[in-house]
């Protein structure tokens, strides 16, 4: 123990002996770690945004459809509302929100223009906590009830159609009996989505209004469920599949494969960058340690001549690089924490909104440092850093005392 304390003191003094050199390598280590953590946080922010958007844009954690609906989302593939066993499951504590919807392709016409959209019939109250729409109304009002006779359309769509709150639009779609169903609606509100594509894609009406218009009877297109905790998904999914046999029960990861693929891509990017940064930093660390060792050849020779074991010299040098790495890592993490807290309010991308949308991002991205990335980056830098300092340490320990002292 005393020996270890002595080694630690020796190492600390050696590190502090050449302050400039120590400072320079500390800058290299901390910049590397800062960049790693910051980039990981940006990527995680992007991932979170993609996933959040995928889940809250009418997907939920899982959905139930009639078989065939996902390939052909039309009135032909509708289903009965949840039966007693399913309803019992939905009343469970792990369910945060659930709702049934009518969701079919439709055409919406104003006096100026026509656009293809998805008509969504919702239970306005059930959508709270289930999808974005309940909190997205920008002007006008939200729908009151499943029987509401008004329509809620996106701001961008309203702009394109040249319509607005209080004006009338006609919605056309196919009814369950294959006739063309059309119905006039008064625009009661405009919603704002995080992405323009959302504002263009969906129009919302009361669920029962839609069922009447499409002659669906009591049938609906989908059941969406939001759980309290995403981790409960596999277990809940299994139980729901048993309860709703004959129906197509799928988690959001299947329903939104793009979001899943983007997360995987982000993960791969983070690690590629980590490795590149580590290698760039390691060259500097090895070189610095090598220099520190070479210029102290006489010192090490003397220590050995006085009876210090080569192994202890090796440990001392490794301790030195540990000090450098730990201090550099602390500074890097501190720097990253500072940068991220400056960006606490998110990075506003609205001037590049269309570009952001191309990468699946919304108008604001919130960098989010994941604990696993911070630990991963730090572990990579420190553990492999110590590992790469073994070479200089080994060189220091290898010197034969006489040769080392008489050199120079």
């Amino acid at each position: 123990m005393a020996r270890l304390a002595l080694l630690l003191r020796l190492a600390r003094r050696s590190v502090l002996r050449n302050r400039r050199r120590t400072l320079i390598i500390l800058v290299a280590i901390s910049v590397a770690l800062w960049a790693m953590i910051f980039f990981a946080a940006l990527t995680r922010g992007w991932e979170n945004d993609v996933v959040h958007n995928a889940i809250f844009t009418l997907t939920g954690h899982l959905q139930v459809h009639a078989p065939g609906y996902r390939d052909d989302p039309s009135v032909d593939h509708s289903m009965k509302p949840p039966n007693a066993t399913v309803a019992q499951l939905l009343a469970g504590t792990e369910v945060a929100a659930w709702g049934t919807r009518v969701r079919v392709p439709a055409v919406v016409m104003s006096e100026h223009d026509t656009a293809g959209v998805t008509l969504v019939g919702i239970d306005p109250a059930a959508e709270r906590g289930l999808s974005f729409i309940a909190d997205a109304v920008h002007t006008g009002r939200y729908l009151d009830s499943p029987d509401d006779r008004g329509i809620l359309i996106g701001r961008a769509l309203a702009d394109r159609l040249g319509t607005g709150v209080g004006k009338r639009v006609v919605v056309m779609s196919q009814a369950a009996d294959h006739s063309v169903a059309d119905r006039g609606f008064r625009v009661v509100g405009l919603f704002e989505g995080d992405r323009e594509a959302t504002e263009m894609a969906y129009v919302f009406v009361g669920r029962r209004t839609a069922m009447t218009m499409l002659k669906l009877g009591s049938r609906v297109s989908e059941l969406a469920v939001m759980l309290r905790d995403r981790r409960q998904l596999p277990a809940f999914l299994a139980r729901l599949r048993t309860a709703a046999s004959g129906l197509d029960v799928q988690p959001w990861t299947t329903l939104e494969p793009m979001a899943q693929a983007m997360v995987a891509l982000g993960q791969a990017w983070i690690w590629m960058f980590f490795v590149v940064m580590y290698v760039a930093m390691a060259f500097g660390l090895v070189n610095t340690m090598l220099m520190a060792v070479m210029e102290r050849t006489r010192e090490f020779g003397m220590l050995q001549a006085l009876g210090m074991r080569p192994r202890l010299i090796l440990i001392q040098v490794v301790f030195e690089s540990c000090f450098l790495l730990a201090a550099g890592a602390a500074a890097g993490i501190g720097l990253a924490a500072g940068t991220l807290s400056l960006l606490h309010g998110g990075i506003n991308l609205s001037i590049l909104a269309q570009g952001a949308e191309m990468w699946g991002m919304g108008k604001v991205i919130y960098p989010a440092a994941a604990v696993v990335d911070v630990i991963g980056a730090t572990a990579l830098v420190v553990v492999l850093g110590v590992f790469s300092s073994l070479y200089p340490a080994w060189r220091a320990a290898r010197r034969v005392p006489i040769e080392a002292i008489t050199r120079n």
Binding site: I25, D72, P105, N287, Q354
Partner: protein
């Protein structure tokens, strides 16, 4: 070499470049291990930057070519205001004469006119909303890849007026196969009902989900008569020799149609604003990563430069005592750094270019995320683009940053006092 130069270069008063070089070269190899490590650091950064920049530029090129090639084209001539609000009446009148004028502009390799409108598309059992595009069957293949991505049946022949090709997703939504009939129901120019009954001759899969989900292509002439457009079109799509030529050709076209007010020439980056912004964003993230890498490498090798000066304090003291000017010692030190950097950059750039050239031939496959890439109009294999810019950009940035780092230790020499320096260990 004349005798005069030799004498000048060995004179202590005015040593020549050759002497500096010889001194610097020897100093570089005085500590081979350190030199090799420094070289590796510089070379590694150069390899990464050359490869990544080439990859990025190659990816952007593929994205732009993909996105413009499918449907949009390099340039479009439109009526003013049509791009912002696609109204049926915002059309180019007397289109055939405009098209002829555009086709005659040098640098234009292909031209085709289109008219389009949103309409209801019905099959026997289903009705969906769709984008109906009237195209010139003979010319469309030269401006769009859709005619080449027919999965079933064939493209429009131009022989009959009632043909249509339908996007794959729309066809499956309408449960259509080749040979079926569709009815198109829209609004004509005068507000009256526009109706066309068409026979599906082909089903295409362009790879762009938005197009495959909603597009129906039909002959332009029948479109114009169904929607009462006369000789009006909405876009004259232009292809040029390459993306670099686009701004120049755009200017020429603008001049050629200057006598026709109310028309505008839009480049791909104006037509596909999202693509341009997406590339700008990706490039910004790239710059952040590269800057961080260059910074880390610079600090990593700054120590080498500093050490090579500090450990030679005594030697410099002797030089100074012998009458060498500090300025000249500084130059030698900088020269050492420059030699080291150029050597490292040369190795790294060559290796990077080699790897990139290999990848440029074979492509880099991202098999697991093919669908994801298609969404960004990227092919399954990305071919990095190796050119002067992509090869020199990264190494130049490294050189610049590390040169600044090299100046820092060299400045120390000026402050040395011969007697003190000679006493140093």
């Amino acid at each position: 070499m004349s005798a005069g130069t030799v004498i000048r270069s060995t004179s202590p008063q005015r040593p020549g470049l050759r002497l500096y070089l010889r001194l610097a070269w020897r100093n570089v190899w005085r500590n081979p291990r350190r030199t090799l490590l420094t070289l590796s650091a510089v070379a590694f950064a150069a390899v990464i930057l050359v490869f990544m920049v080439s990859m990025q530029l190659g990816g952007y090129g593929a994205m732009i070519r993909g996105a413009t090639g499918v449907f949009t084209g390099d340039l479009q001539v439109q009526a003013e205001g049509y791009h912002a609000k696609q109204r049926l009446r915002t059309a180019i009148a007397d289109a055939s004469s405009v098209e002829a004028r555009v086709a005659a502009v040098p640098g234009v390799t292909a031209v085709s006119s289109r008219a389009q409108a949103f309409a209801l598309v019905s099959s026997a059992t289903r009705t969906y909303g769709g984008m109906i595009v009237g195209v010139e069957p003979a010319k469309e293949p030269s401006v769009s890849t859709i005619p080449r991505t027919i999965r079933k049946g064939r493209y429009l022949s131009g022989a009959t007026s009632d043909e249509a090709v339908v996007g794959q997703a729309l066809a499956s939504n309408l449960s259509l196969t080749v040979g079926d009939e569709i009815t198109v129901l829209g609004q004509g120019l005068d507000g009256s009902l526009a109706v066309a009954v068409l026979k599906v001759v082909g089903i295409f899969s362009s790879g762009v989900p938005e197009l495959d989900r909603q597009t129906v292509e039909m002959p332009l002439a029948s479109f114009q008569s169904a929607f009462l457009l006369g000789d009006r079109v909405h876009a004259i799509v232009v292809r040029t020799g390459g993306l670099e030529a686009v701004p120049h050709v755009a200017g020429l076209i603008r001049a050629a149609i200057a006598n026709r007010p109310g028309l505008t020439v839009l480049r791909w980056d104006q037509l596909l604003e999202g693509l341009k912004q997406g590339i700008a964003m990706d490039a910004a993230v790239g710059w952040f990563l590269y800057t961080a890498l260059v910074l880390v490498v610079t600090f990593s090798i700054l120590n080498t430069f500093l050490m090579s000066v500090l450990e030679r304090t005594r030697e410099f003291g002797v030089f100074l005592a012998l009458g060498t000017r500090p300025r000249i010692l500084g130059r030698v030190v900088i020269l050492e750094s420059v030699i080291l950097l150029l050597l490292g950059l040369a190795i790294g750039t060559l290796a990077g270019a080699g790897i990139t050239a290999y990848a440029g031939v074979h492509g880099i496959a991202f098999s697991s995320s093919e669908e994801l890439l298609a969404q960004w109009s990227l092919p399954a294999r990305i071919y990095p683009r190796l050119d002067l810019l992509s090869v020199t950009l990264g190494p130049a940035a490294i050189l610049l940053a590390t040169l600044v780092a090299a100046l820092f230790p060299a400045r120390r020499i000026r402050r040395l006092r011969p007697v003190d320096a000679m006493k140093a260990v």
